[in-house]
Symmetry: C2
Subunit: 134 residues, 2 copies
């Protein structure tokens, strides 16, 4: 069911410092910062040959990653995103198998403009999983 790893998302306390790490230390292809006010984050994409790293920084008052950075002020891996062909079929399979989908199970539009769902990290070894329909 799951396809490609679309991205790893890392919550970062200092976006400019993180961009320097990935550019100068790791020599990666780092894009420009994009504000996504409807998602409460500023995001920078690091493009690798086979996938992406997304650096996430809180934007605005009610950012979904503010709580994460309160608990882990130095940052950390926030979630991983796998691609699926049919997000409703994926949701139904997961709930039938006993996994918990966050929210009311209705996909919402993710940061890439595509339908996404998040799965409960306690059902996947502490790993927050995003599914994105591609």
């Amino acid at each position: 069911m799951i396809g490609r790893l679309n991205h790893i998302a890392i919550a970062v306390p200092d976006l400019a410092a993180s961009c320097r790490q990935y550019t100068q230390m790791l020599g990666a292809d780092v894009g420009d910062a994009q504000d996504l006010p409807e998602h409460g984050v500023t995001v920078v994409f690091v493009t690798l040959p086979n996938t992406k790293v997304e650096l996430l920084h809180p934007l605005g008052e009610a950012s979904p990653i503010a709580g994460f950075l309160e608990k882990s002020p130095g940052g950390g891996i926030h979630h991983v995103c796998y691609e699926v062909e049919d997000i409703l079929a994926a949701r139904d399979r997961l709930t039938e198998e006993g996994a918990r989908v966050l929210g009311d199970g209705t996909p919402r539009t993710g940061a890439h403009g595509k339908p996404v769902l998040f799965l409960h990290p306690k059902d996947f070894d502490g790993c927050l999983i995003e599914l994105e329909q591609v």
Copy 2:
């Protein structure tokens, strides 16, 4: 400098349960468990179209992931691994730019039989990075 994302490694408290999650819930291609006593882990590879997930479980008395699971008994993302062409050149660039390489800076042989180094997570937003020469 960094190339492909070679894998994400997830430390898991119950390898059989995790294999069921990735097989039945997520419908992924899950391999057989392999004991790597020289690395203190039992590993299961989940093969995705563009990269791998490695499920890590402690093996033996002095497993390098035992401490991680003590702090996070439910599991969690342990590290991410990026490929590099020349691990000594990568190390030299990183240390020149101020990043800390764990240990004495001498690459050791990783779980795939290739030279690896680990970078200090405090220099990369709490993310433990493995570099593997391919």
